[in-house]
């Protein structure tokens, strides 16, 4: 079959298009990171060449570390992302288990109700969310962000996880029941370990939008104490409009953690998407 469909020109053509697009996709990222290691003269004189001995300069990074409280913002982002992720995975898996394992009245309705949030963005409720947070005194706390992001992540998590939990063998669970295990033990000790790959997929899907979100930090927690790294970078970039060294260094610092995480988890993420988790 391969001889019938594949010919050399066609393969070369496919590679040419894919390489072109790969260059388009990576060029801006490489350009920014590359130029962040250059002096001002190097950035403007030869933007497309990698830093040489003559143009190498870390002035941008020293400015960033001297000015912005980036480490603190980074910590805030980490706390918000990890805590939201934990609650999304725990609550999401519990609800998915209830929906896929037990037959009770209103099961389908409950599933539809919880799936509503996949399509309707939580952002549209912002006006009332802010009022709620003001009323409960949670404005400018990381708790507010964690609660909102947990609600935001749950619908998709429940949807994906319940698809996977339906595949867990019934014999296994019933064997557990005969051995006298409680429903809670069956969930935590038998089912959860089996859906671990699905949990990893959900984790990546949940994590990226939370880490990158600008809207809710801007509205719910803009104080110096609670700024996330995305909001911090945004304000920092606004302040240093003319300091190109500092801007490029700040951008590189914002890109690198995400990029490293992505390289580590990309296999998991791509397998998650292509295995049909989101179909």
């Amino acid at each position: 079959m391969s001889t019938a469909t594949r010919s050399l020109p066609r393969t070369i053509g496919a590679h040419a298009i894919l390489i072109t697009y790969t260059v388009i996709a990576l060029f801006p990222v490489i350009l920014v990171v590359m130029n962040s290691f250059k002096s001002r003269a190097g950035i403007f004189g030869a933007p497309l060449t990698p830093p040489t001995a003559k143009t190498f300069d870390l002035i941008g990074y020293t400015t960033v570390f001297g000015q912005g409280d980036f480490f603190h913002y980074f910590q805030n982002s980490l706390v918000v992302t990890v805590a939201s992720l934990f609650f999304v995975l725990l609550f999401g898996a519990m609800a998915a288990f209830a929906l896929s394992e037990y037959r009770f009245r209103g099961n389908t309705m409950m599933g539809l109700y919880l799936a509503l949030g996949i399509m309707i963005p939580i952002r549209l409720g912002t006006v009332a969310i802010l009022q709620l947070m003001v009323a409960s005194g949670l404005v400018n706390t990381l708790t507010a962000l964690i609660l909102v992001y947990t609600a935001q992540g749950l619908p998709l998590a429940i949807f994906i996880l319940s698809e996977f939990m339906k595949q867990v063998s019934n014999d296994l669970k019933n064997a557990g029941r005969i051995d006298g295990l409680s429903e809670y033990t069956i969930f935590f000790r038998l089912v959860l370990p089996l859906v671990r790959p699905a949990m990893a997929t959900v984790a990546v899907f949940t994590m990226i939008p939370i880490w990158n979100d600008l809207w809710f930090p801007l509205i719910l927690a803009p104080s110096e104490e609670t700024k996330t790294v995305t909001l911090g970078a945004q304000l920092f970039l606004g302040q240093f409009v003319t300091n190109w060294n500092a801007i490029l260094a700040a951008l590189s610092l914002a890109i690198l953690p995400v990029l490293i995480l992505y390289v580590i988890f990309s296999r998991q993420l791509i397998r998650g998407i292509t295995s049909g988790a989101v179909k």
């Binding site: 019938a4 209830a98 919880l114 409720g125 609660l147 600008l214």
Partner: protein, 314 residues
């Protein structure tokens, strides 16, 4: 023992299964409290207006202001028009490119596909702040990267500071957004193409349908449901967009509101900006309109597209 008494016995043994409630409660509570109730709260707020420090019910008054009062309606219709254009560019550029890349990636025996996949998906994981700023720098006439690159292909005379010109800024930003999100349609279509059974492809080959004809006649009809999904995802994402415009052009969505979309308009109405005072009720009214637009899109997708496309599925 007949089945009826057995069923009755089990029912008697387990009158209420508390664990079902325990498993469901946390998710349902958080989801209801921070998503569903605020959503309805916002819809409700859009029917009120703050007059002398008290909330007064005004029915559809806020919407009348939004559509008819020149102070609001000019900006609203402008934002809506821009948003539609933003969506059209995504549908015409992002999704076809995504489908093309997926079709190439899924061709059998092509090497390095894992690398291409990973690399092309990189922009999608970056935050809007990075994307917006990086492109702002690249397109900036001060740095000169864009004119320099265009010089290579002899197009230097076509360069203008796109983000600074009213007639180009929105299209330029839409294309930046396309650059960022092309990975999503690519991945979903790629997954759909991989799931087409080999027998179907082999049968097509036996009938002499190969290459481009095979893609158009066999594969494309089979991936139509996935194309439906990426269309509705694009629709929801575009009519809810905010971050990229805000990062690249600020809340005023310059130059002269030419890049203003519903998200940035909502932000300005809700919080106020510069001389304009924030108005939660008008903000809620705009959010309601966005809700209705997205709901209409989802309904069209669910009732029309989904039912018509289902017959192609296996």
């Amino acid at each position: 023992m007949d089945t009826e008494t057995m069923a009755a016995e089990t029912r008697a043994k387990r009158p209420i299964r508390w664990h079902v409630g325990v498993f469901l409660a946390p998710a349902v509570l958080v989801y209801t409290a921070f998503m569903i109730l605020p959503l309805f709260g916002t819809l409700q707020l859009s029917l009120f207006r703050n007059i002398e420090q008290t909330q007064v019910f005004v029915g559809l008054g806020n919407f009348r202001t939004l559509f008819g009062d020149p102070n609001w309606s000019v900006n609203f219709w402008n934002a809506l028009r821009n948003n539609v254009w933003f969506f059209i560019i995504h549908m015409l550029v992002q999704n076809p490119i995504g489908i093309l890349l997926a079709a190439l990636l899924s061709s059998p025996k092509l090497r390095f596909t894992a690398f291409y996949r990973t690399a092309i998906f990189v922009p999608t994981i970056l935050s809007f702040v990075i994307v917006g700023f990086a492109w702002k720098l690249i397109l900036s006439p001060i740095w000169g990267v864009a004119p320099h690159l265009m010089d290579f292909v002899g197009l230097k005379s076509f360069f203008t500071p796109w983000l600074g010109k009213e007639q180009y800024a929105l299209t330029a930003l839409s294309l930046v957004s396309v650059w960022q999100f092309v990975g999503i349609p690519m991945m979903l279509i790629y997954a759909a193409l991989l799931s087409i059974p080999d027998e179907v492809i082999e049968a097509a080959e036996c009938d002499g349908v190969t290459g481009m004809a095979q893609f158009w006649k066999i594969k494309l009809p089979l991936i139509l449901p996935s194309i439906g999904i990426i269309s509705i995802l694009t629709f929801v994402g575009n009519f809810n967009a905010f971050d990229l415009i805000y990062t690249a052009q600020g809340a005023l969505a310059g130059p002269n509101y030419s890049t203003d979309i519903l998200g940035t308009f909502l932000y300005r109405a809700f919080f106020g900006f510069q001389l304009q005072v924030g108005d939660p009720n008008m903000g809620a009214a705009i959010a309601t309109i966005m809700f209705l637009i997205i709901l209409a899109g989802v309904c069209v997708y669910l009732f029309l597209v989904q039912t018509r496309l289902r017959r192609y599925q296996f």
